[in-house]
Subunit: 347 residues, 2 copies
């Protein structure tokens, strides 16, 4: 088949294939749309996403100095070690879903030079971003390095035969960065964009909203593009995920965006290259307050809604099983003709 | 540990175990409740649902004579053969989810005596129910036989070491039976309770609503219990699933209820034994119009919402992966103490 077919033509052909399967028309609901999109991304009517990998990017955030998180900043590094020892939620879900798990340190505030694990990449840009209420979170060079790290891990996944990539993150303070990016890019107010993160109380949420409001107001004087906003208020792990999305799109590698913070990376990626949205699947609508709203603003439909709000790629890990199911249904189901099943007289 | 702990005490202990895991309190959302319920059903703080089985019950329906389905009645038998040949949606999803799949003929309108497959049980009660607009769908003896078949397959699952059971169905016409049961038992009007089923047009939906309204109005004169309603307007596969739910509860075997029709079996089971609700998980909110409403009336929360409306146990198969994930998280995650991760000062 010609690869000059458009994305929408591939989707339509995949839907036509689905319509010959032994089931009422449309009765697999969202699974049909998911499979058709996988077909269009991979440019085949028999998409496969058997081999799955999840890259979790970790970094520290200078904004925690403003008291925006319920957990102490050192938890970021502690959780990286927990990932490597296999005890975190994402380890359990990756094992359960047969998903390869890689942890990438793009800027945790601890020296991890001597930490050696086969699935760990130690590529710190700095020991955390700077406090974006007082200065830019990162330099332009740092932004580019973070995005390139995401691109490189995406290329590596593609080269090693990965068919479905997930992205997740760890970084105490990063829901504040994400909220600032949504406020800057999607016209969501600071009050709407902030939530409890890992578990702030009401006073903490108010403080966080003030920080986001002040920072976005201040940086608005100089920021003119989504990249500039990423540099001003983003995080190293958010920038890496953004690079990963852009590269996955270039490589036609389907990518699953995890939760609230990963969605901020997607919002920046879509501003840089709107067509990259074609290649993204949104794992779930999380319990972080603004997530449902920003998914709606981005005009995307999440796969799951389990009130999770943990990050780490946990939503992506569960959604990957659903995506794999969708692809397998398109590939493996019998047709009315092959199974000798009568079609509806109405169709 | 003593098994004299109550269901709620087990749930509370499981939640306390979850609260020591390396994650913000409550951040696994519905997964925490699912795992706590699995713990309470199995009476252990380390629930396991590795071994999964799905029983699909198939039967024909006399009510199809009233023109209530978009598909011809012979599709029920054709789809049974499709299940046995491995080409239906549920075959794909069962393979993908490592779920044992059994097909049980409780009353398909075709002689399947010579059909021999290791995962097929040929136990027809009749070649379909009678037309419940004109007479009772089944006799009391037939109802009891159908419920016993469901009970027996549930006992067999438990005895062979199955840890999580799913129930699904195939039966052209059975959304009409399900709608009649909801209308009779949950105080939902006929208009609210009917939907498009496999794909009725507007005129078909109106006809179906009239059939349900007339049948429920007529049978109300004689029906005094949920069992009597099952006998009057139910189906053999619905009765078998109802027996399965009651037996699963007795055996403390967690059971996943698939979609609209399986939910009708649950509604009858809950009327017979309200405590059986403890043992049921509702796989998904389907696209069949009344499903979300009846789940709300039953005060249960579905796991997925993917706009599926296929039956066969397809929603249950996907939800089983989520339930297994929930149990594994409770069993396998590290604690703050064991992983050396700092807790929130707020907790």
């Amino acid at each position: 088949m010609s690869t000059s077919r458009s994305f929408d033509e591939w989707k339509r052909s995949a839907q036509e294939k689905f319509d010959r399967k032994t089931k009422p028309l449309g009765s697999l609901g969202h699974l049909e749309e998911l499979a058709a999109r996988l077909a269009a991304i991979q440019q085949t009517l028999s998409p496969t996403v058997h081999r799955k990998r999840l890259n979790v990017y970790a970094a520290s955030h200078g904004i925690v100095a403003e008291g925006v998180s319920a957990y102490p900043a050192e938890v970021t590094a502690q959780m990286v070690l927990n990932f490597l020892n296999g005890g975190a939620a994402i380890n359990v879900l990756a094992r359960h879903g047969s998903i390869e798990l890689n942890i990438v340190n793009v800027g945790v505030d601890r020296d991890l030079t001597n930490v050696a694990f086969p699935n760990f990449s130690n590529q710190p840009i700095q020991r955390g971003t700077r406090n974006f209420l007082r200065e830019q979170a990162m330099s332009l060079g740092e932004l580019q390095r973070a995005m390139n790290i995401g691109r490189e891990h995406t290329q590596a996944a593609k080269e090693s035969g990965v068919e479905l990539l997930g992205i997740g993150e760890m970084g105490i303070g990063n829901t504040t960065s994400a909220a600032a990016l949504f406020s800057a890019l999607l016209g969501v107010s600071a009050e709407e964009s902030v939530g409890r993160g890992t578990g702030l109380d009401d006073a903490g949420v108010q403080r966080k909203a003030r920080v986001v409001h002040q920072a976005v107001t201040w940086h608005r004087a100089t920021c003119r593009s989504a990249e500039e906003w990423m540099q001003a208020v983003g995080g190293f792990e958010i920038a890496a995920m953004c690079g990963s999305i852009l590269e996955a799109h270039r490589l036609r590698l389907p990518i699953v965006v995890d939760g609230f913070v990963a969605t901020a990376a997607a919002a920046v990626a879509f501003a840089i290259d709107p067509s990259s949205k074609q290649t993204c699947f949104f794992a779930h609508s999380s319990a972080e307050k603004a997530h449902a709203l920003v998914l709606k603003r981005l005009n995307v439909t999440p796969i799951l809604a389990l009130e999770m709000r943990l990050g780490e790629g946990t939503g992506a890990a569960l959604a990957m099983h659903i995506l794999d199911a969708a692809a397998r249904l398109l590939c493996e189901m019998a047709t009315f003709e092959s199974a000798g099943v009568s079609e509806s007289p109405q169709t």
